[in-house]
């Protein structure tokens, strides 16, 4: 447990020392979403119709940007050996890295998402559920992305390979994340969708670290 906390603290400290990295992700998120009105036209009704989907899809893509660094940097400088040799289950340490990843990428995305919602003319009823759905959904994105990051460690062109592996796995989060907010906008209960999102998180919380740890052990061998 102490090992996991030490790793979490170190990753957060590293992120704070180079704040540019997570700022880039947030900037990518905003810029990509801004391209949509330029692409489909500024018609408020059309924007309101696509707002939820655009926010979620760009959030997925922004998340992807940061994964190739999740383990790659530690693998390149040898830190990953030390982490794998720590007297704690590697699964727990992977979880700590996922938590750190979510805090430095997922959380900033949630914080700026209302700004994008304004840009895209999202109806007011959608805002609380937007934040809630992102808060439940983005940790799952971090957990699943970690699997991809572990699997592509040491691969050629890992930056291109990773989205290919991870994006199909993101489909359920996208579907239910969007469905929850659209239900709220339409005045329907968002609870069932949010519960399923929570279920996805509950499922990936134990399983994703197991798969990721297996992938990392293979990569170090």
């Amino acid at each position: 447990m102490m090992s996991a906390l030490a790793l979490l603290r170190r990753d957060l400290r590293l992120a704070l020392r180079t704040p540019g990295d997570s700022a880039t992700v947030v900037l990518f998120f905003v810029l990509t979403a801004v391209l949509f009105p330029l692409g489909v036209g500024p018609e408020p009704n059309i924007l309101a119709r696509i707002a939820v989907g655009v926010i979620w899809v760009t959030a997925l893509l922004a998340c992807l940007l940061s994964f190739d660094r999740l383990f790659q940097l530690d693998a390149e400088d040898g830190s990953l050996d030390l982490i794998a040799l720590a007297p704690a289950p590697l699964e727990l340490l992977v979880l700590a890295k996922c938590v750190a990843h979510w805090l430095v990428t997922g959380l900033p995305l949630i914080i700026v998402s209302p700004v994008l919602a304004i840009f895209l003319n999202l109806p007011g009823e959608g805002y609380p559920v937007l934040l809630l759905a992102l808060a439940i959904g983005t940790p799952t994105l971090s957990l699943i992305g970690a699997i991809g990051a572990g699997l592509t460690l040491g691969a050629r062109r890992s930056g291109v390979l990773l989205p290919l592996l991870v994006l199909p796995l993101y489909v359920p989060v996208l579907v239910f994340g969007v469905a929850a907010i659209e239900a709220a906008v339409a005045g329907l209960p968002a609870r069932p969708h949010l519960l399923i999102l929570g279920g996805l998180l509950a499922l990936s919380l134990p399983l994703a670290p197991v798969a990721t740890a297996a992938a990392i052990r293979q990569a170090l061998e």
């Binding site: 030490a6 170190r10 590293l14 030390l82 720590a86 007297p87």
Partner: protein, 207 residues
């Protein structure tokens, strides 16, 4: 007692057989030097000893008990120093070493500063690691050995980039480790002046 042994070990990297039928024995207070030409499997053997690689054959045992039965306990008793220094450029020397100690469950600032002092790094303690020279980086990596206690040290070319004074510091640290019942396995080309030294020569060509 408390012997670290390997019996009839075989190691396969990718699809290549690196070595086979390799046996060793390191008791308390002993140092095993691994020598041999490049590609003879010194680094592979160290990674195998650390449990990073699973042996393709044979067994590793601590005090007679197979380490595969309790890998957590094995990881808890070893320090591994690889080719790479595993330093984060934006963290200070102290932070780098303290993180390692905390990762191994030890949060003792006094031990960290004593470790830095042993390798003559006290003056650099608050410097971010990106400003360090090659030798200073290696010394910082070595300081990890003292920041948290572990009976078994697995060192891959620890003397790489060290000057004469740092080499003496390393040997002094090793002698103290050995005198207190520690043991070490060291892949090196430099002669080591340490009591209880044994040598394991890895063959130039695999069968």
């Amino acid at each position: 007692m408390d012997e670290f042994t390997g019996t009839a070990l075989a190691c396969v990297r990718g699809e290549r057989l690196v070595f086979k039928d390799l046996s060793f024995r390191v008791g308390a207070g002993q140092v095993l030097a691994l020598t041999g030409p490049n590609g003879s499997g010194k680094s592979s053997l160290l990674r195998l000893m650390a449990g990073l690689i699973r042996p393709a054959g044979g067994r590793l045992a601590w005090d007679g008990a197979d380490i595969a039965d309790d890998p957590d306990a094995h990881r808890a008793r070893l320090h591994y120093l690889g080719h790479l220094d595993a330093l984060k450029p934006t963290l200070t020397v102290t932070e780098n070493v303290a993180f390692y100690a905390a990762l191994r469950g030890h949060r003792d600032p006094a031990a960290v500063s004593a470790a830095l002092a042993a390798f003559g790094l006290s003056a650099l303690a608050d410097l971010p690691a990106r400003f360090l020279s090659q030798g200073q980086r290696r010394r910082t990596a070595l300081a990890r050995l003292l920041a948290a206690p572990a009976p078994l040290w697995l060192l891959d070319e620890p003397t790489l980039g060290l000057d004469a004074a740092s080499l003496d510091a390393l040997l002094a640290v090793l002698r103290r480790h050995v005198a207190t019942g520690g043991r070490a396995v060291i892949a090196t080309h430099a002669p080591l002046d340490v009591p209880g030294l044994a040598e394991l020569r890895l063959g130039s060509r695999a069968p």
